[in-house]
């Protein structure tokens, strides 16, 4: 397992308050990595540091090169991030949004190369939003909108896609739809995915690698099926959980009580 992103002893502060302390982690190339942990533990903050949205102390390398050695624009061609509930002007169509994903590839004055259009078409197809390309973003359902945003990130043609709680506010059907889309993109395109998730069963079902964070520090990392156990839930979330075996032979955890 080779790591495409390697963070060593990073500290991340927001408003002079250190949120992430001396965290080291590795993101395996071509795999789906889930970052899990309680609210306020620094999951999203870590994700934003890995995408250079937030400044950090310490070292993060992308394919062996220090992340800060890339220009912001060069880096946006390697790595795309989708933050939690991003904003957009009310008259933006799906097509407009996906075209914005081409921004880092376009030259001065926003002119695209010959294959610019093809990448937009490709991103629309991959996420299944081509049929609604000329619709306004705010007329879409939550699941469709999320797929449109993922299409924008894909139009950047990144090697790594970071997603901050991609299924928040979605019903269970659309949650699965998004998760399956992510796994398909990973398997068919070899896209490396890093996502912050709240549903631990999603991490068990869809992630190849899991990173557990608590209070801004790394708790553990490894294969989700081995790591995510009722003991871990007790330790990290203070939750008593029962384990079940599902029809697809995977394990699922259902929280039943709090530890006082």
């Amino acid at each position: 397992m080779s790591a495409i992103i390697k963070a060593q002893n990073i500290c991340v502060s927001i408003n002079d308050k250190e949120i992430v302390h001396n965290l080291s982690l590795e993101i395996p190339e071509g795999k789906v990595t889930a970052i899990i942990g309680p609210n306020g533990c620094g999951k999203s903050t870590t994700l934003k540091a890995l995408s250079r949205i937030l400044p950090y102390k310490g070292s993060v390398t992308f394919k062996g090169n220090e992340m800060t050695s890339f220009s912001q624009r060069e880096f946006a061609k390697c790595l795309a991030i989708l933050t939690q509930s991003p904003q957009a002007p009310s008259d933006l169509t799906v097509n407009d949004l996906v075209e914005m994903g081409r921004f880092p590839h376009r030259g001065f004055l926003g002119r695209g190369g010959k294959d610019d259009k093809e990448h937009v078409e490709w991103a629309l197809e991959q996420t299944g939003v081509k049929a609604m390309r000329s619709r306004l973003l705010n007329t879409l359902s939550g699941g469709e909108r999320q797929r449109a945003w993922i299409a924008m990130a894909l139009a950047q043609r990144p090697e790594v896609l970071l997603l901050d709680e991609p299924t928040t506010y979605l019903d269970i059907c659309h949650q699965l739809e998004i998760m399956q889309l992510i796994v398909r993109l990973n398997q068919e395109l070899g896209l490396t995915v890093v996502m912050v998730v709240h549903d631990l069963n999603h991490a068990i079902m869809y992630a190849d690698h899991v990173v557990v964070v608590k209070a801004g520090r790394l708790v553990t990392s490894g294969a989700p099926r081995e790591i995510i156990t009722s003991d871990l839930l007790a330790d990290v979330f203070r939750v008593k959980a029962d384990e079940f075996t599902l029809s697809n032979d995977l394990r699922a955890l259902v929280p039943v009580d709090l530890y006082k």
């Binding site: 408003n15 002079d16 934003k48 995408s51 250079r52 949205i53 220009s71 912001q72 624009r73 060069e74 880096f75 946006a76 061609k77 795309a80 991030i81 989708l82 933050t83 991003p86 904003q87 957009a88 002007p89 009310s90 008259d91 933006l92 169509t93 407009d96 914005m100 994903g101 921004f103 880092p104 376009r106 001065f108 004055l109 926003g110 000329s134 619709r135 306004l136 007329t139 950047q156």
Partner: protein, 341 residues
């Protein structure tokens, strides 16, 4: 049936595709700008027919009408047009980078800075009145830089700029009010200037504002793609490869230069920078590749027409254009807002 459903969910307007609609609106605004320019040349204390004006522009003579056109009307029309472009573009840019619908050149201290500088000259050093334009330009830029520095804390947040802008403007406005009260006998000229007017603006004023207008327009149009991406929020913009801090400083500087050059020439003309971009946005949408040219043309049309009206309506008395614009423009804008076409 399904086709009907599609049409209602897509973005056609009055049955034309969106791109066609947007280009059409821009052309209409351009036409409006031409009409405004012509009206501004034709009307005045002596009406000169458009045909004669064309002749005069093609071959300037030495008759009185030629003198009026070349020395009074034409430069004034050009100043009006450039001021309209500058203020409208400045407001449009600021609304994107501060992501606030109330953002306009006032908010980054342009008006209060220029106001203090201008009023100090007019009231305390009336003999230096020829220096009003450069000094108020400097005042405007100093105020804008102050606000930017005061709002800086590990980077810039739009809300902090807005609040710092409000505070600095209030502070400077108190200075202006104080001066006007202590020297209430000399207030008249200052008052006219505070409202904004185009009376007696001529070629020297054109030469002050023209370079900024040219540079500003080129830079603004070149940054349309950046302004579009900035509307997705700081985090997504950074993720798309924009260096937020640098981009915001550069764009704020462009907006400040545009507005300061306009304000230093015609006084504290409010309203255009706030309302014109909004009116344009209601019609062409928020894609800056269309919004910027639309705002520029609408800015020209608004100022040239208002100025013509201001000269003609109570002739021979001339009303400062700022008053006319607010009186006519505000209700019209409210009308647009209610209809939300």
């Amino acid at each position: 049936m399904s086709k009907q459903l599609d049409a209602s969910q897509t973005i056609e307007r009055f049955g034309v595709s969106r791109t066609l609609w947007r280009v059409g609106v821009i052309c209409f605004f351009a036409l409006l700008a031409c009409v405004g320019g012509c009206l501004s040349l034709v009307n005045g204390s002596t009406d000169i027919p458009l045909k004669e004006i064309m002749g005069i522009l093609a071959a300037p003579g030495t008759d009185p009408n030629s003198m009026i056109i070349w020395n009074i009307r034409l430069p004034r029309t050009i100043v009006a047009a450039l001021v309209g472009i500058n203020l409208a573009l400045s407001g449009a840019i600021l609304q994107a980078i501060l992501r606030n619908p109330l953002a306009d050149p006032h908010l980054i201290g342009i008006s209060s800075g220029a106001g203090v500088a201008g009023v100090v000259i007019m009231i305390l050093y009336p003999s230096l009145e020829y220096l009003i334009a450069p000094v108020s330009f400097i005042g405007a830029m100093v105020a804008a830089v102050c606000i930017y520095i005061l709002a800086w804390k590990n980077g810039i947040k739009p809300v902090r700029i807005i609040l710092a802008g409000v505070a600095v403007s209030a502070f400077l406005s108190a200075g202006i009010s104080g001066l006007m009260i202590f020297y209430s006998d000399r207030v008249h000229g200052a008052l006219t200037w505070m409202v904004g007017g185009l009376a007696a603006r001529s070629w020297p004023h054109v030469s002050i504002i023209l370079p900024y207008a040219v540079i500003g327009v080129v830079l603004a149009l070149a940054s349309a793609a950046y302004l579009n991406v900035l509307q997705l929020g700081d985090e997504m913009a950074r993720g798309l490869g924009i260096n937020i801090e640098v981009t915001r400083i550069v764009l704020t500087a462009i907006a400040a230069l545009l507005a300061a050059s306009a304000v230093s020439v015609v006084g504290l003309l409010g309203f255009v920078g706030l309302v014109v971009p909004h009116a344009a946005r209601l019609l062409v949408g928020s894609d800056y590749r269309y919004l910027l040219p639309a705002s520029a043309f609408l800015g020209i049309a608004t100022i040239t027409m208002s100025d013509t009206f201001a000269r003609v309506v109570f002739a021979p008395i001339e009303i400062p254009v700022g008053i006319i614009m607010a009186f006519l423009g505000a209700p019209f804008f409210l009308f647009l807002l209610r209809r939300e076409i």
